[in-house]
Symmetry: C2
Subunit: 691 residues, 2 copies
């Protein structure tokens, strides 16, 4: 692991390009360092100025009196390389190149940036940036505001890493103004040398960082991200810009890099256990929960409230996010009925009405916390004038202190007149939210992260497959799509449940083949010229006997003309359609995709990915974390499909593409799933070879 | 329209049940009235106290010295009726029954509540509540805080109506603390007499109310809601609790009313032009935009920013919400290239970089506003130390003032150090948001409301249909599902494009029927015992000639046994499946439903409703406002379907169910839509008669 102390805990800082103009970046960096109480010397460097912001200035970094481990460089881009050479001579360990005009401007800038990086590496100077803000640290021993921005920072446990300075500032300001605070902060712009994975890894080792927040516009090196970030233990909450074509274009215009395809982000985040968020606000609200709360053991949420209607908003938000809201045990309900006002609801949400006293709150929350039913507890707390709200807050703080293993969130619906109430909760490390839905979403994020982290403990299981036979078959195949017959054979050799089928070179052989498979059958005519088999009448399904088969066969022979081969397949009626795919991702190897087929993938983008070979828990998580995965479970009176069998299909596909890198892509679509796993069938397969 | 001045602009208020205990509801109401500067007399009423909160108290409402038009009643529920009688004697025009213990507690309470309502009506006293908070008014001539809550209110243009007191408080506190302010406020609990539609209608006539925010837990009277609210001109932003079964159960436990089915809300909100929101925060953020901004003419959004990465977040949020982000015209791009820094992006978002001066901002925003391309403009504004941010704010304020017809939103990413900048924007009536995605969502809400309001201008078109023939056919039918043959006939008489078909009582007649329809055909065997025709082999599709037909016919005859009738249908290959339905909604008459079929309806609930008969614009809006409606347009290389033809299908179905109330429900599923509208076919229909 790289030691980045020179950036986050420097002992002495030079600001090269400093001057006395107030509205400039170097002046602002010096002001920020001073105002935030940097403990070491700050050396302004300027060819002529003797004093900058009351500090002695020096004509060159080489003239500074003491050792320097960090230097900001704010000079014209063509002056940067020579300055880095001087820094190396001086023994500077890291430089922050704030200057812009590098890879974000096009090929010429990219070349200059590569030169910077190579120069730094050859001289042993780490380069942060270019085209970047800098970093901050709220550690009391190393207070550092080495950045030209304007957020008022407050110490906390959330570390923020964002490529784009604007988003970094938005996240940071929100969390600091919300009173939650941050631990460290980095916005490293073009990231030519010091990389995002390196910074995350460095923070993973920082005991005061409880959660990391990551905003990306592009992956510089997906493989490096995967290798490093997948080993990180602390939770990472991530966002990636450019999820729409319009947004991706704007990313491109902004950073000179286009990644229209969002898939790689899903793959990397899923594999690395990075929980992905859609909006900056949802990300921040989740971070507030992660800053001080443990991960839950499950998805059961208990709500206690003194106002019914807001708790219903929380309920309506929580349920579609996959949280369950079971009632408390009978014993707890009886206790609550005895101790609370008669008008209270003792179900979930437990609703005590606005008049609830601190004692009522203590009774209800303690009962719910100790009930054993819940993995997460939230309280929906409105602050009436006629209640001792500070007393309520003290009870909540106490219960949280006595039950630190249970994630506890508070929806505090109030205004600044109740600042003391808020402070009691904040001092207890209780995350507070204004809107009930926000608390519900944050609770769901905690549960989602627990799910994602559990996946990391999976094992790649042993599977009985005929690896050698497939290797031989693929070695003999030319580049391009395998003939359907061969593709089926490959799947069969890996134990995948391909529909029974026979291939016949001529019509004469078809009836015998059908008899062997057993009626009803599907008949398909294959001919090079046919693109849409169904519309051309080259597919006949549910042929119940030989007569029906012969009729269909005659029809096809007549209407299509030259047929290369007939495929006779068992007819699989019903079943839930899912799709399994595999594709190689640049630099990452083979990935397996799972989705609910058709429009779920194309229009709703409801797919999950895993790197091959898959682990047992990885495959399970791909199925469980589908957005519309409930369609696989018992749904509207239909029984659920056998998910263990689907998991087995995913594992075998993962094994297959991991074993045989010549498989460029595969598409098992549809796979028909049934409540009885033995009926599961791959109904169609495409497999492309590229050597 | 009911005059509710006695509630919102009373001249004298009695508080019946007042006392000197600080932590009680009546004491708090009196304190709030005093603190908020109520201009008339306040009369505490208590059997023994002589003075309450320094005001002379009276033993009965009848003893108060001057006229009283409003009375709060906070007494045991059994004392309320006699008190209302006294109020009537005194000439009180309205009573607010804060007391709880009525319909929310069960049948006995409901009976008491009905008695209250009837008593009030017989005596000419309007009843607000019971089990409610009260109301507020920030009108400078009628300052009124007739409520026991704790929000710090600020005058503004948003009026809030929420059944549940907790949610009312959450909405109000948020808007008032955000500095946007409210106009009037009502939380009327059980709403036994003064109803939600009445209050909305009253506010529609209030010139200072620009937008109404509505939170419902249940509809007391859907028909009254429809009749009144559909005539309201001002925008209403709505929310309804209980969208999940868990939430609905909680609503029920809270208010004694269960409405598991969310459909009625969609119908009523759509018909009344109420824009529905999913979360309280999205509702509030939209309200901030509606408070001072006009509705846009279209959905084209222009973004100007001084920070690239946050503008990309806004873009990624806006596009899936159906906003378009076209580039400025060439002319504008040229102008921007000339006037802005070279590193700026002159596309959309226009990105000027952090160093942009007030002059740069003025140039860019003015160019975009005057470009003619955009219906809404947002600026994504981060406040650097080295820029005159107040100058930027003044330019934005000026441009907004000079272009009041264009909705203008600001994303202001800053902290309280820039309070003056914020104030300049707020004073100019510019809505500001912290997160870029919030501004994008608010912009989309403005556009959605414009769409919804446009629908109200629709006309019910004349259609050529054979009403009498259908009436005759339906009159002859018994209750229950019409035979498929008859159902098809009904559709055909209303000009609906039913697939061509023939019905044959015996197998012998089938070949001739197929010949008449023209190959390829579909053959279906109908038998009472058959439930799943496809799985039983009773459906054969794409039969290309007589031989194939005969083979299928033989197969069916053998495998099924007794067949009641054979249906021979034209085979429609391909097409996009949609579903059209009709059902009667309690108290509202017939409604038409449109969706994308199958899982879009069942799992994604992506359906739209309209009351029959539909208007042209109403039908169009049902299609356009589908969440996944993009699947009907050109999508991933497929051409779009003929939407005018779909609209015609909806109009005819609406006409049919409006003309014939004996049609209890109908299901046209699937309807196959094509780019060539003439190919559109209703492939299956079910029609149930109930007399």
């Amino acid at each position: 692991m790289a030691n980045l102390d020179m950036f986050f805990k420097p002992n002495a800082i030079a600001v090269i390009g400093a001057n006395n103009k107030e509205l400039t970046i170097p002046y602002r960096i010096i002001s920020n360092l001073q105002a935030y109480g940097f403990k070491g010397p700050i050396y302004p460097v300027h060819p002529k100025e003797k004093v900058v912001k009351e500090l002695p200035a020096f004509p060159s970094i080489l003239d500074t009196p003491g050792p320097v481990d960090l230097a900001h460089i704010i000079l014209r881009r063509d002056l940067v390389p020579a300055t880095i050479r001087d820094c190396a001579k001086k023994g500077v360990k890291g430089v922050v190149v704030n200057t812009s005009g590098f890879s974000e401007t096009g090929p010429e800038g990219k070349k200059l940036e590569d030169e910077l990086r190579d120069l730094g590496r050859s001289l042993g100077v780490r380069v942060f940036g270019p085209n970047c803000q800098g970093m901050m640290n709220t550690d009391l021993d190393h207070p550092l505001y080495s950045n030209f921005t304007f957020a008022r920072i407050k110490p906390g446990h959330i570390s923020i890493l964002a490529q784009g300075g604007g988003v970094a500032e938005v996240l940071n300001s929100y969390l600091s103004e919300a009173g939650v605070g941050i631990r460290m902060y980095a916005s490293n712009g073009n990231a030519c040398d010091v990389s995002i994975p390196e910074i995350l890894e460095y923070w993973d080792a920082d005991p005061e960082t409880h959660v990391m927040v990551l905003h990306l516009e592009s992956f510089a090196d997906p493989k490096a991200f995967l290798d490093v970030v997948s080993k990180i233990k602390k939770p990472i909450l991530g966002m990636k810009s450019g999820t729409t074509p319009e947004g991706a274009r704007a990313v491109a215009s902004h950073t000179g890099r286009l990644m229209a395809e969002d898939t790689i982000t899903d793959i990397l985040f899923d594999e690395c256990g990075v929980l992905r968020f859609r909006t900056a606000q949802e990300l921040c609200e989740a971070a507030i929960a992660f800053a001080n709360q443990p991960l839950p053991k499950g998805r059961k949420l208990g709500i206690v409230t003194n106002a019914g209607s807001p708790a219903i908003l929380a309920t309506d938000e929580a349920v579609p996010l996959g949280l369950a809201l079971p009632d408390p045990t009978e014993k707890t309900q009886t206790l609550l009925r005895e101790k609370l006002f008669a008008t209270s609801s003792v179900h979930n949400p437990v609703d005590m009405m606005a008049t609830a006293t601190p004692e009522n709150w203590a009774t209800a929350v303690e009962a719910v916390v100790k009930d054993g039913t819940y993995d997460i507890v939230t309280t929906s707390f409105i602050t009436p004038f006629f209640v001792d709200c500070e007393g309520v807050a003290r009870e909540l703080a106490r219960i949280h202190r006595e039950n630190p293993e249970l994630p506890f969130l508070v929806c505090l619906m109030t205004n600044p007149l109740w600042e003391k109430t808020r402070k009691i909760l904040a001092d207890a490390g209780l995350p507070t939210y204004y809107f009930p839905e926000s608390a519900a979403r944050a609770a769901a994020a905690l549960a989602d992260m627990a799910d994602l982290k559990a996946r990391a403990k999976g094992k790649v299981p042993e599977l009985k497959v005929d690896r050698d036979a497939v290797a031989k078959l693929l070695a003999a195949a030319p580049d391009g799509f395998l003939p359907a017959e061969k593709a089926s054979e490959v799947l069969r050799l890996y134990g995948l449940p391909v529909a029974r089928e026979k291939w016949c070179a001529s019509a004469d052989a078809v009836p015998a083949a059908a008899k062997e498979i057993g009626y009803p059958v599907v008949l398909k005519a294959h001919a090079t010229a046919l693109v849409h088999k169904t519309e051309a009448g080259a597919v006949a399904v549910n042929l119940g006997d030989e007569k029906a088969l012969r009729a269909a066969l005659d029809g096809m022979t007549k209407s299509i003309g030259k047929v290369d081969a007939f495929q006779v397949q068992e007819f699989v009626a019903g079943g839930t359609e899912v799709a399994v795919g595999a594709v190689r991702a640049e630099g990452l190897g083979a990935t397996v995709m799972f989705g609910l087929g058709g429009i779920y993938i194309e229009a709703l983008h409801d797919v999950r990915f895993g790197l091959a070979p898959l682990t047992d828990l990885g495959a399970e998580s791909m199925i469980r974390r589908l957005k519309f995965g409930k369609l696989l479970g018992p749904f509207r009176g239909k029984p659920g499909v056998d998910q263990a069998k689907l998991r087995d299909v995913l594992l075998r596909v993962g094994r297959l593409v991991a074993d045989h890198p010549v498989i460029a892509e595969m598409d098992l679509n549809p796979v028909l799933a049934f409540p009885d796993g033995a009926r599961t069938r791959v109904a169609d397969v495409r497999l492309r070879v590229a050597k």
